[in-house]
Symmetry: C2
Amino acid sequence: MAEKVYQCTVSAPVNIAVIKYWGKRDVGLNLPTNSSLSVTLSQDDLRTVTSASCSKSFEKDTLWLNGHAEDISASKRLSVCVEELRSVRRELEKENDSMDKISQLKVHVVSINNFPTAAGLASSAAGYAAFTEAIARLYDLTWTPTELSRIARQGSGSACRSLFGGYVSWEMGELHSGADSVAVQVEPVEHWPEMRVAIMVASAAKKGISSTSGMQATVASSTLFQERIKNIVPGRMQAMKQAIRNRDFETFAKLTMTDSNQFHACCLDTLPPIFYLNDTSRAIIRVIENINAAAGKTVAAYTFDAGPNAVVYFLEENSSYILDALHAVSKHAEGWEESARNPTSVKIDDVASETVSSGVSRVILTKIGDGPRILSPEESLIKEDGTPKNA
Amino acid sequence: MAEKVYQCTVSAPVNIAVIKYWGKRDVGLNLPTNSSLSVTLSQDDLRTVTSASCSKSFEKDTLWLNGHAEDISASKRLSVCVEELRSVRRELEKENDSMDKISQLKVHVVSINNFPTAAGLASSAAGYAAFTEAIARLYDLTWTPTELSRIARQGSGSACRSLFGGYVSWEMGELHSGADSVAVQVEPVEHWPEMRVAIMVASAAKKGISSTSGMQATVASSTLFQERIKNIVPGRMQAMKQAIRNRDFETFAKLTMTDSNQFHACCLDTLPPIFYLNDTSRAIIRVIENINAAAGKTVAAYTFDAGPNAVVYFLEENSSYILDALHAVSKHAEGWEESARNPTSVKIDDVASETVSSGVSRVILTKIGDGPRILSPEESLIKEDGTPKNA
């Protein structure tokens, strides 16, 4: 008789920071130099689906990530997450005789992003959040998202924020152990559900330096960076939380743009300098400035992570106005198909318009969303025998 | 009989800062928020020639700048310089009866840059330095360059540094009057004459925000900028002076690159963000990094002012090595004609090479140079009747 295969399938969302995480005070534990704050994006559009399973028949801890198998024990980040969750399960099994002793079994994990890695979206955040959540559910752990966030953080820093929906902060904490460096929900989706998002994917010729090594170069060499983490971010975190509580889009937007700019300023103050923004990114910034100028107030905010893609935040009430303008400068990009757009009333700088038109290959229209979801067994990525469905 | 026309002709150099001036604490007096330091470039290659004249027959103070006449009294910056010099002359005339009373006469000034304004070089620095020097010479003032720098500074801040050759600092000063905000020579050309310069002119599609308004936007909105001016620049000024005194190119180069990057970082930390570097600029930075990596030490330094053009500093001993590499990525640019170049041994990033190749339209090869020169009457730009020669 075949060994029993335990399994659970979840999905986890992408999150895009509005107060940026950049820099670690402890590289091993992924403890950040400053707190950060993000908006969770809807899993209807962007998500990682992960199935975790365990069985006596499995020979080693294995992850199939987008179809490629890897040995979990060969990855420090992956094995830290598995081992921490496994030890929690082991304690529960000790306390409760009726629980199956599945902490002793090897795991098979299958994970798929529904968005191309090449899109430059923070796939590791959704990935490690789904990985942590899937194994925690497999083990029937009753931890809160904040408790789980301490584990996901060790996989990928920003993953901790993907364990919540809505508006989420990652509080940097003070302890050397990292026990207090966790994510908390600032407000749920329902508090301010009108937040909309357009991602403008710039067809980057080449990926720049990875964020993992880039951020530590900044910590080591930027003389402006210390000022940012000590004297600027703490006040911005408070102001951003207040803006979200007040549903004050203008303040939210200005802080978002200012903090994105400052993050990239610190990258430029690094030696050798790190550039993630390219001419397309800069042209998108000009287009957003044109959109806000024409509106007479700040109705759209750009933010850029470690790459040239723009993420644009706006409210549902201004959707038509903003999407018409973005469409006018990126008509030929993939992603507009289902969105019937009208000509824009916004006067857009010609050079910026041309640059965006030739540099943006794809748009993704989405909105704020909820936290990880448990999916039905039908959605599992793992067959009953414990092998990946699409392997 | 025609009225006598007094006249004098001078030339003044361009200077390129290695510790950047950005931000005014007093806009009217052009008092800077931080000290700065520059290298004066040779007038054999780049210069402004200015003839100043005065005569009873002149009806108003007029400047012909590159062929365009303008009323000096309509420009606050120009008239401040003229009036300050005129009042000094007036005092001398009072004290000395034998002096001609030319301070009462209107002036005609004719000024020509030998380089295109479109090249984005700091033409106002050479321009105001030549303007100030020409009138001071016309008036037979015996002021030192430092004394004159106080006047030129009010025309254009960085002009004060073009009154000296060699390595020049502009000490920010402390007084509200600006009396102590003057240029001084750190070292003359002869101290370290081997400094060479290649200017890579990026064919900018469009000029960005002017430095005059850009710098005050940074002062008003960048939260990192205060850290730069208070806690970073003072130490860099000392370190840069020491590097120059020690003829320590590696330190000079690293400080130059770091300070250029930080200036542009502060521009990016401005709201709305200011971008002067474009994809071509960034590619030039990569090429310089490749050149230094291949050399195993820092033999070339880039710096960028308020535009996309790169100024590259290097020593004469490394000229062939560096120019061969720069030529390899900009073969079709104007300016290489007189320079027979060999293939480069440097391995240059393909994307950077292509970007530079399509983005750099012109190179200017020059070197460190001396301060303003008095030219012979044959070089005057003014006819004997006081009108411009090419009008």
